[in-house]
């Protein structure tokens, strides 16, 4: 039994929007702070405190690697900030290992304190922030090496399905040889590069859903 109305309709379940009212269900305390587990990224002002039934993650120890911050804003096709988006990230740890049974490189260390999956709800000005560690290098197709990057998913009201992009660190090694960036038209690659702003470990990554400087989104 694997269909919802009739067997001949078996197939991928269609995507639907998260809508505007996900804040009491999806973000969690520490969801956007992969290093220190602060309340970053959870908008607890949007629901009563006694309805905060889920947003707890167990404490963990110190995380290996160099802490970085990623800050940005999400904009729509009019250049208006998007106050009800949800940004998700997935990345390797400082050694370049993914906390997944499907990463076969067991010679690289796992970090018990670091999973590498995060979530942040945007604020009313469309801004978001993650605290995480600088990801290590990860192999690409064939014998290539990918430059340090973070996979990014964008959900929100008005997005009937997730948009997927990538964040590359502007000072990361191997950008010129990155096999995925090479598939992106040169004039649009800049939308995937997070530049440092102010202090060295703070990166700026805006996400433009539509129009001029539209972020490159992937079919992967």
């Amino acid at each position: 039994m694997a269909d919802n109305q009739s067997p001949e309709k078996f197939g991928q379940t269609p995507s639907q929007t998260v809508g505007p009212f996900f804040h009491y269900a999806l973000p969690w305390k520490g969801g956007a702070d992969l290093v220190g587990q602060s309340g970053l990224g959870a908008r607890t002002e949007l629901f009563p405190a006694d309805h905060d039934v889920l947003n707890v993650s167990p404490a963990h120890g110190p995380v290996a690697g160099e802490t970085i911050e990623v800050r940005g804003q999400v904009f729509d096709g009019d250049g208006a900030p998007v106050p009800d988006a949800l940004i998700e990230i997935w990345q390797a740890n400082a050694a370049g290992r993914y906390a997944s049974p499907d990463d076969p490189r067991t010679e690289l260390p796992l970090d018990e304190a670091f999973i590498g999956f995060g979530r942040a709800a945007t604020l009313d000005d469309g801004s978001y922030c993650f605290k995480t560690v600088r990801p290590g290098p990860v192999p690409g197709p064939g014998n290539t090496l990918q430059a340090p990057h973070i996979a990014v998913g964008v959900l929100g009201r008005g997005l009937v399905k997730r948009l997927v992009t990538r964040l590359y660190l502007a000072d990361g090694e191997g950008l010129d040889a990155d096999p995925i960036l090479a598939l992106v038209p040169r004039e649009r690659r800049g939308t995937l590069i997070a530049e440092t702003s102010g202090s060295a470990n703070v990166y700026r990554f805006d996400i433009v859903l539509q129009g001029e400087r539209e972020t490159v989104f992937f079919d992967c």
Binding site: M1, A2, N4, Q5, K9, G11, Q12, T13, P14, Q16, T17, V18, F21, F22, Y24, A25, G31, L46, F47, P48, H51, V53, L54, N55, S57, P58, D76, D78, V82, D84, A92, A99, S100, P101, D102, I115, F117, G140, P141, Q146, H149, G153, G156, R157, L159, V160, R162, L163, I180, L183, V184, L209, G211, E214, T215, V216, F217, F218, D219, C220
Partner: protein, 234 residues
Amino acid sequence: MSPDGGYLREDESAHPASLAPAYASTVKRSPNHPLVRIPQTLTETTGPAACWDRLMGSALADLTTQHAGAPLGQRIIVSGRVLDENRRPVANTAMEIWQANAAGRYIHAKDNWNAPIDPNFTGAGRVVTDDQGRYRFLTIRPGAYPWGNHANAWRPAHIHLSLLGPAFATRLVTQFYFPDDPLIALDPIACAVPAAARDRLVARFDIATTEPNWALGYLFDVVLRGRDATPTES
């Protein structure tokens, strides 16, 4: 060579396009450029599988006992399986759940519809599938509610589901609806889905999982992207 060739692509005949003009909010929030197709690397074929409790805390499968009293509304048991499109169970994966209350009102500061809040109902939960991909949760049936998309617009009663599955590539957020709801055919969000796949979003009433003198049973299976059986260079 990847031993298992990554995941099958998103099926265009099943998923809505990002631009669905009848759903007005998509008009300025959907990209103009076509997506850039990339091969799946370790980044896409891995995910935070099997560590949900470490990320978000423990499961919460009963949405009717989170507060001092019982919530108002029809108790329902929702159960089913999470499978991949090769009909294999997706075990040990988290499903996040959220919904409006029986009157169609969300416990959210920005929901200003004039229907009562139920102090005994939050409408958020989380379950983890067993080794056969099965899940089950207890809640109350949500109500329909009006929204500002067009004149006299009403969302059909629905429950939101969020799943990641085994990999970043298999992430899915969806909503399911209830059988025989006349609002589904009028809803621009449900109708953004190609017609042939729309019924996949409608749960089935099920007398076998209905519990006597307690709660009505509904079945809803979720199908995620499956492994591509064809090995590819990657």
